[in-house]
Symmetry: C2
Subunit: 259 residues, 2 copies
DNA sequence: ACACTCAACACGTTATAACAAGTAGGACGA
DNA sequence: TCGTCCTACTTGTTATAACGTGTTGAGTGT
């Protein structure tokens, strides 16, 4: 192994394999050479090749499977979660929406609903007091039979208690906006705060992704005027999802557009 | 080390430390016990404690520094990139916008602009032919002197060539929307496709984040009616940024709201 | 008082060794 | 033909050992 600039061997090997992945020499789903092969190829010990592959795994380029080998991970996420003006005039918009419906998007999910009390965090987001009663609903969404999205939502019971839409699911109307419409509350806007982080063990297990892959965590709140109506924590694997936001740009603004 | 269910020792140790982080026994910026300490505490070899800490590092809970130790990573991102109706009636909206301006947001950036031709990918996004001339501008944004956001934008020269706003920077108007307004093109909406992934080596270096931390990659395109006007690739460290999208919800829609 | 040196300590890199556990395919028997 | 078993191959886990490199603070000399 040529020792270039004293740069650690495992990083050089990682660089080498990475460029093979990026330039297409190694394609998605291809198996990497086994650890034994790499040891022989580069003339290093096993720990070096393991470190090298671990770097690539941590970058999300490679997945490892005990007993089978290490594989180049498919890079492109397939599904798009669209938020915004679905009826945009943009012609490219329709393929997305169409594919979302076409690719087996039978609304497939399971949920668990229960009454509970608001934690401080949730209370802040809903503009209520910690300890106030809320309806908590956990969803697990599936796509092609695979778990694809996790969501936990909270609604203040002060709003829905005693109404026909107290239960988020099971009634004749579903979806926050129509449900609230049904009791005379008209959602005016939604805020989604998006962060990226590595999957927690629970999420990795539930979403069936390798530990450490990046996920997108969305903190979503629906508002009627300035009043928070519902808030939810949503987690999707960034492997499988692109979040697509489509926003109108109001004409004649003095405000500099955020870059 | 009590061998619980044959679960690997390094995972048990990782679980142990993780719960200490999550329950607050170990707080942000605290130093973890050194590898030697952990070896003694749990009665295992160094490779086991290194594997354990590596798990936490890969989850983004811990950062390691050679010569100093391993530290609990501060979890909450500080900055918010807001897209959407800044003049929302929501009272909580103002603190965000205010803090964005207050926290030393002197518009601090450097850029490089050059004429080039569109790659296939960019041409598709701009609705032009590959090889058509475009203006390419790379930005590096700083916050508190630290690089915080990378962006590369493309505009078809067919639109701006020969106009006063051919150069994205340096003129009297800046920002895509005002610049295009100035030549009679009125941006109607913007699409942002957000994905999460691990930082590439170049990005990790440029953004000064440890390799492997998740970043958010945004593919943004501005449209005037259905015509793409500008497209950009934006990368931010998810350590430091929350993306906040504020969208109006139109009244009386039959369309089920995307969950 | 200040700057320099150096040792102690932290994590980083690599080698060798052994056994565990999951996978796949071929051999073999019913 | 079909299912079982076994074996070879793969990654997973752990131990021991040694040396490299970055950090820090105590001690020392000026």
């Amino acid at each position: 192994m040529a020792d270039f600039r004293g740069r650690p061997a495992y990083l050089q090997i990682a660089d080498d394999i990475r460029s093979q992945i990026l330039d297409g020499t190694l394609q998605a789903e291809d198996r990497l050479p086994s650890e034994a092969d790499l040891m022989a190829d580069y003339g290093v010990s096993r720990i070096v090749v393991r470190n090298a592959v671990e770097v690539l795994r941590s970058e999300g380029l490679v997945v490892k499977q005990q007993g089978r080998g290490s594989f180049v991970r498919a890079q492109r996420p397939q599904r798009t979660r669209v938020v915004g003006d679905l009826y945009s005039e943009r012609p490219e918009a329709s393929p997305f929406a169409a594919s979302a419906r076409a690719s087996g998007q039978v609304p497939e999910w399971e949920y668990q609903t229960r009454r509970t009390t608001a934690s401080k965090t949730i209370a802040d987001r809903l503009g209520i007091q910690a300890g106030d009663p809320v309806m908590r609903t956990s969803y697990r969404f599936f796509a092609d039979g695979e778990p694809a999205m996790l969501s936990t939502s909270f609604e203040p019971l002060a709003i829905t208690e005693g109404t026909p839409v107290e239960q988020p699911e099971g009634g004749s109307v579903t979806g926050v906006v129509p449900r609230m419409d049904a009791i005379g509350i008209h959602i005016t806007h939604v805020v989604e705060d998006v962060t990226g982080r590595s999957a927690r063990p629970y999420e990795a297990e539930t979403l069936k992704v390798p530990v450490g892959v990046p996920v997108l965590a969305i903190e979503r709140t629906y508002y009627a005027k300035s009043r928070p109506i519902e808030t939810a924590d949503i987690v999707v694997s960034s492997d499988r999802y692109v979040l697509s936001y489509r926003l109108p740009v109001p004409p004649r603004t003095d405000q500099p557009t955020p870059r």
